[in-house]
């Protein structure tokens, strides 16, 4: 960090209103993340519409707070109620709830708070160190490379976050198509407008986001109207230093996994936490208890990783303009609304925004520590809010939020249509995350592809040759091919043959 960066880094720390907004966002995030039925993506989508008239720094301060607090907050209900408050806390429930059943809920919450902050801080350090370098490197990227990166993002999210790649890819492609509606940015030709003037400007993506994440989730929640929360007794939650010290090495390893998974376009905290849990299971030889029976290691790994993934997810967003996960896809939407174009030029044209974000995320992590270790009694009351009240509230906020963007009722119709579609998609095992990634990535892919084609005068063979002859493009192309190959039966056959060979080799070696 050079001298000019420090004032920007400290901006959110020294300005009372930014400090208060970050604190407020983090506090709200802890509760939003914890209450099953409310998600960080939903909250950030709705917040875009409420903050678009604000100064961009204030809007970003609030969103960063909600993001950090929300990812952490999901662990609370995973531990106390065995209901992950957020998808990134699914792995946390595996050992967190058994710990609560043993009467160690307070200690489990304390440990998860501390390791979440360790993970979050590692993510921020990774962002501060890696992003400037990646951003400089990204200036060498040609349009075809952006196309390949976006394809990688959609394939990754499609293959890792759902029950089948086909359904994930469908959701991503649907998002791409939603992003195509309106006038073509290069030729002003109409696409999917059906001669409707209201469609010339495209489908408002905030309406799509609120529909898919707000209304769809609220409708799914209607199936669990009668679910009764189980109350847990929570005692002292501040953990002793000896306890924390024991888990720091695993926390750091898991955070590294979180940063890398978060930084891959499309994949976020949910996948990072599952992979870190898997890593802990494989690497920890003597866990405090068997995994699944209340091992603290099974809590430390996912909680470190999902918070580290936040800083990781900001890396492709700020350097390449590619969302690291669904929440950063929504934040990209917020930056667009504020007239900013995330990508390598963002770091050059508005370096203050980058260091402000780094400072702000650091601050949000500190607030997570404060709010995580206090206020547990109020919290226990809040999460018991019945769904019969919660669902109508989500819907009113979604409707008002959508209306606030353009003061248009048509946007609310779009929101409801996407909400109902999202409901059926969720019921039938289609992820809605890839849809939003597709909406953000679609126009970028379209323009990148056509610029790349135009640069070789519409010659497909020259385009294909460029994919193989430029080093960056070649690496990315190979990655795309690898991702596609993994889904074929041939890959499974090769893997099983390799496994048999290894087993045979191992037996031979020991004999």
């Amino acid at each position: 960090m050079d001298g000019s960066a420090l004032p920007y880094f400290l901006m959110a720390w020294l300005d009372p209103s930014l400090l208060a907004l970050t604190a407020l966002g983090t506090l709200a995030g802890v509760y939003i993340g914890a209450i099953p039925g409310l998600s960080v993506t939903m909250a950030v989508s709705i917040l875009i519409s409420f903050t678009f008239a604000w100064d961009v720094n204030e809007a970003l301060a609030l969103m960063a707070g909600v993001f950090c607090g929300g990812v952490y907050g999901g662990s609370r209900t995973a531990i106390l109620l065995n209901i992950p408050g957020a998808p990134s806390a699914i792995a946390t429930a595996l050992d967190g709830f058994p710990l609560a059943q043993r009467g160690e809920a307070g200690r489990a919450i304390g440990v998860s708070t501390v390791v979440s902050v360790i993970g979050g801080m590692m993510g921020v350090v990774a962002l501060a160190v890696a992003a400037p370098a990646i951003s400089e490197f990204a200036l060498m990227f040609a349009p075809r490379d952006y196309l390949l990166l976006a394809v990688i993002g959609l394939l990754l999210v499609g293959s890792l976050s759902g029950e089948s790649l086909a359904k994930g890819v469908f959701a991503g492609a649907l998002g791409v198509l939603i992003g195509m509606v309106g006038m073509d940015p290069l030729t002003a030709e109409q696409r999917f407008t059906f001669s409707q003037v209201s469609l010339l400007g495209g489908i408002p993506y905030v309406a799509a986001m609120i529909g898919f994440f707000g209304v769809a989730e609220a409708l799914v929640q209607l199936h669990q109207l009668d679910a009764k929360p189980i109350r847990q007794k929570v005692d002292r939650i501040v953990p002793s230093w000896d306890v924390v010290k024991r888990y720091i090495p695993l926390s750091i390893r898991s955070s590294a996994i979180g940063v890398v998974i978060g930084a891959l376009p499309g994949t976020g905290g949910d996948i990072a936490s599952l992979m870190a849990y898997d890593h802990a299971k494989r690497s920890v030889k003597k866990p405090s208890r068997p995994f699944g029976d209340g091992a603290y290691e099974g809590l430390v790994a996912p909680e470190s990783a999902n918070n580290a993934a936040i800083g990781g997810a900001y890396i492709p967003m700020l350097t390449l303009g590619l969302p690291g996960d669904a929440v950063t896809a929504v934040i990209i939407g917020a930056l667009f609304i504020h007239g900013l174009r995330p990508g390598p030029m963002l770091m050059i044209e508005t370096p203050h925004l980058f260091w402000f974000t780094v400072g702000n995320l650091t601050l949000a992590n500190l607030f997570t520590l404060v709010f995580g270790l206090t206020g547990i009694r109020v919290f226990a009351k809040m999460v018991e809010c019945p769904r019969a009240i919660l669902v109508p509230l989500i819907i009113v906020l979604s409707v008002v939020g959508t209306y606030a963007i353009q003061n248009s009722v048509i946007d609310i119709y779009w929101m409801l249509a996407f909400g109902v579609l999202g409901y059926f998609m969720k019921i039938y095992g289609y992820q809605v995350g890839p849809v939003i990634l597709g909406v953000i990535l679609g126009p970028l892919m379209d323009v990148s592809y056509r610029r790349a084609m135009l640069s070789v005068r519409d010659d497909p063979s020259a385009f294909a040759l460029e994919l193989l002859t430029h080093p960056i493009s070649l690496v990315l192309t190979l990655f795309v091919v690898l991702l596609l190959a993994r889904q074929t039966p041939a890959w499974a056959a090769v893997q099983s043959r390799l496994g048999r060979w290894r087993a045979g080799h191992g037996t031979g070696g020991s004999a």
């Binding site: 999917f192 019969a388 679609g442 379209d446 056509r450």
Partner: protein, 152 residues
């Protein structure tokens, strides 16, 4: 790590409906600029719609022979869902003519009453507190324009 999702009633019909939509969108994408050039505005929409068709065809092939269980109305579109959607449409329709306070207040009262099957006093109290809180936070705090009734 997580349990496989049980098959839901109407799953095949939903996939077929999505496939029909995707085929329609593929045709619409074709009408944008046909195959005039590899960098024409219609190419990427055609690719996206084509991917949708192919992925849904893959889903149908992979799930062939797996019958859908019965009980579509009970499990997928229960009365509580349809009733809630009707109430949301009511909120949308009344939002501009009645204004935020009346429309959202009415919606919250009716929906909470419907979802908790009774207890009108609690529903009215929650609706009133929520409308005031949203109005204060968003209209006064966030300076968001909320629809106001013409007669107010």
């Amino acid at each position: 790590m997580s349990q496989p999702r049980p098959r839901q009633p109407g799953e095949r019909a939903f996939t077929l409906a999505l496939l029909a939509l995707s085929l329609f969108l593929l045709y619409q994408a074709y009408t944008i600029s046909g195959f005039s050039a590899v960098s024409s505005p219609g190419v990427f929409p055609m690719v996206a719609a084509g991917v949708m068709v192919l992925s849904l065809a893959t889903v149908l092939v992979r799930e062939r022979g797996r019958p859908d269980p019965a009980g579509f109305v009970r499990q997928v579109t229960p009365p509580v869902l349809l009733g809630s959607i009707v109430l949301i449409v009511g909120l949308m329709v009344t939002l501009e003519p009645a204004g935020f306070v009346a429309a959202a207040g009415g919606f919250l009262f009716a929906t909470i009453l419907f979802l908790q099957r009774g207890r009108p006093v609690r529903a009215a109290l929650v609706a009133a507190v929520a409308v005031v809180a949203i109005y204060v936070v968003f209209r006064i705090g966030f300076q968001v324009v909320l629809p106001e009734a013409g007669w107010m």
